[in-house]
């Protein structure tokens, strides 16, 4: 007997189940009586929540706070500029993932670079870089690597293949970041003082947790007393997770629970973690768009792999200046959960998906893009 593809998602989009959870959540919320803010850390969840209209199913005192977990949204402008500079070098093919090609930098986006003659390509899987490198032996293929814990092992696997197959023309520009460190900045500042926020609980990322394990959220439950429920990406997953969060709040618990048990284990995927640790080490600082510099929140290639590190090889042509965002853009506040897209004066007017000003409008996982695309129909 074969499993049909629809079996993999049908049950998780079942109208009856969603309605039943909505009823239960309304009862839970009434018991709590006070306003409850739940931050979905991951952009994939933001997308699910907006696409399936879940805010419309929430009682008046339960609301979603959109978090910083969109790898495209948090990429600072200077790094987009670096990618642009690399793409414009003669004999370079710049390869990246999906939406990254649309993020505007100071000189334009990678899409603009391509229209000016640069060879910029996007792939679904980093391993496709090997094919591009083999087909273009006289070109340098630079992989502009982005993403959280989920995509980091894929980049490591690509590097492993490059080394094993002795491929000479693949380089890496690494922008891999990690979730717990940036979540911590929403709780405490650099001097360990609590940060004001409206976050009562976290909806934990799905895919990040498959790799890193639910263990990475322990401090948020034990130290910061915020319930964390690691949730799947489908609407039933999110509704069930909200119910689990409210239950913890009612019972006065703050624990890490896993709703997405079909894929997530406490320790995560050890093999993937080993692969990451083999090639990468934590970088001292990463400058997050809108969130500022966060220590030890990103990866860099270990020194012994410097020969593959485009950031080191092209260091002399990469600008060291930090860029300011458009002064009306509120991506920073949105990524910190302090504002929602409609709070931004340029949302939907100056800033649209066809002409994005801020990065949250570019990525399909960005909060602004999700609000614009699906409309915030109440």
């Amino acid at each position: 007997m074969s499993i049909e593809l629809k079996n993999l998602y049908d049950d998780f989009r079942d109208a009856k189940t969603i309605k039943a959870y909505a009823k239960q959540i309304a009862i839970d919320a009434k018991k709590l009586g006070r306003p409850i803010g739940i931050m979905e850390v991951c952009g994939g969840h933001t997308h699910t929540i907006m696409k399936y209209g879940l805010p419309q199913l929430m009682p008046a005192n339960v609301h979603f706070i959109h978090g910083p977990g969109c790898p495209v949204c948090i990429m600072p402008k200077e790094r987009v500029d670096h990618a642009y500079t690399l793409a414009m070098q003669p004999d370079v093919i710049l390869v990246t993932l999906g939406d990254m090609i649309r993020v505007p930098g100071s000189h334009g986006s990678l899409q603009d670079a391509r229209a000016k003659g640069a060879d910029v390509r996007f792939v679904y899987s980093p391993i496709d870089v090997l094919k591009i490198a083999r087909e273009n032996p006289d070109k340098k293929v630079i992989f502009f690597a982005i993403g959280f814990e989920t995509t980091t092992p894929m980049t490591a696997a690509l590097l492993e293949s490059v080394i094993k197959n002795d491929i000479k023309n693949v380089l890496f520009y690494i922008n891999h970041v990690t979730v717990p460190e940036v979540m911590t900045t929403l709780m405490i500042d650099g001097e360990n003082r609590p940060v004001e926020n409206k976050i009562d609980a976290f909806l934990g990322p799905s895919h990040v947790s498959v790799i890193a394990g639910s263990q990475i959220y322990e401090p948020f439950a034990s130290v910061y007393k915020r319930p964390v429920v690691v949730s799947g990406f489908e609407p039933v997953d999110v509704m069930q997770s909200i119910h689990m969060i409210l239950k913890q709040l009612i019972e006065g618990r703050s624990e890490v629970e896993v709703q997405y048990a079909r894929a997530v284990e406490k320790g995560g995927n050890k093999k993937a973690q080993e692969l990451t640790n083999k090639y990468f080490e934590k970088a001292p600082l990463f400058s997050w768009r809108g969130l500022g510099k966060v220590p030890k929140s990103s990866w860099q290639l270990k020194d012994e792999f410097s020969a593959y590190d485009a950031q080191k090889i092209y260091d002399s042509i990469l600008s060291k200046e930090e860029c300011q965002d458009h002064k009306l853009c509120r991506c920073g506040d949105i990524l910190k959960g302090l504002a929602t897209p409609p709070d931004c004066t340029i949302f939907g007017t100056l800033c649209k998906p066809s002409n994005p000003v801020g990065s949250c409008m570019v990525s399909s996982e960005g909060a602004c893009s999700a609000y614009y695309k699906y409309g915030n129909i109440k």
């Binding site: 998602y9 109208a15 899409q111």
Partner: protein, 331 residues
Amino acid sequence: MKIKNISLAHGNGGSESKELVEGLFYSVFSNKILNKSEDAALIENGKLAFTTDSFTVNPLSFAGGDIGKLAICGTCNDLAVMGAKPKYLSIAFMIEEGFSFDELKSIIKSMHDELEKNDAIIVCGDTKVVPKGNVDKLFINTTGIGEIYYSGISASNLKEGMSILISRDIGAHGAVVFAAREGMELSTELKSDCASLYPQVKSIVDGGVNIVAMRDATRGGIAAVLNEWANASGITIEIDESKISISQEVQGICELLGFEATALANEGTFVLAVPSEDAQKALAILRQTHESSAIIGSVNSTYKGKVVLKSSWGTQRFLDLPTGELLPRIC
């Protein structure tokens, strides 16, 4: 917005295409016929329909068709959905040096077969061969003239209470071509929906259905068609998401690649707006060709110019015009 360079997104059939076409072409060439912006232009006091289309699909052949079949279907369908009988076509080839003669012959054979289904003929043409690298294998342009036998079809005539139908399950062409381009090995029976629509449209007209609007949902998918209608008629189109039929294979490709089937291209699927009293009659005729055809929604005036998608659990959202670079060179 000021466009600096043409990007692939300007060819996506969504909001960027609109920006280019309206901002440059319409503003320079503006005239009464062009400005109507229908699938085919009505000329000679509405007696004839006239349209053109270029085909650059990569790969040249795919499950369910090839560039030749596509080049005939594309132009004939644009005529058919305006209530015209496709009659005379021109054809122009841009061929890359070194292209296989046998492959060309097989493409011509597909064109011939598809012309027969439309009872249309090629009456003039042009051939250019360019040095290697100047085009990708083969580009084809076709232009067609059809005779109007049902008049009054327009994107701007939708009124409150009317019904919206779709002729079959959506997204097959876009999904097939994208899967082929990405080198995805699919162990499925999925085929492009590429087909000539004239016979089906004719049977709706012959069945006495009053057709208000009709459009084949090519680039930009049904999302683009519905948005265009909502915009042109100043009304809201409300769609019941669960009524739209999406094959498992198409849904699977969407899940894998993060697309929405409503934005995927079709090459033999059309959207139809009729007065509500004609909806069942139209559906019965559509079902003779495709069991998956359905009444998917209706027209109201809650959010003018917008398309609203309703979920089966009671939430709603806007279905926007597709943006960005979705599927370059699908047709």
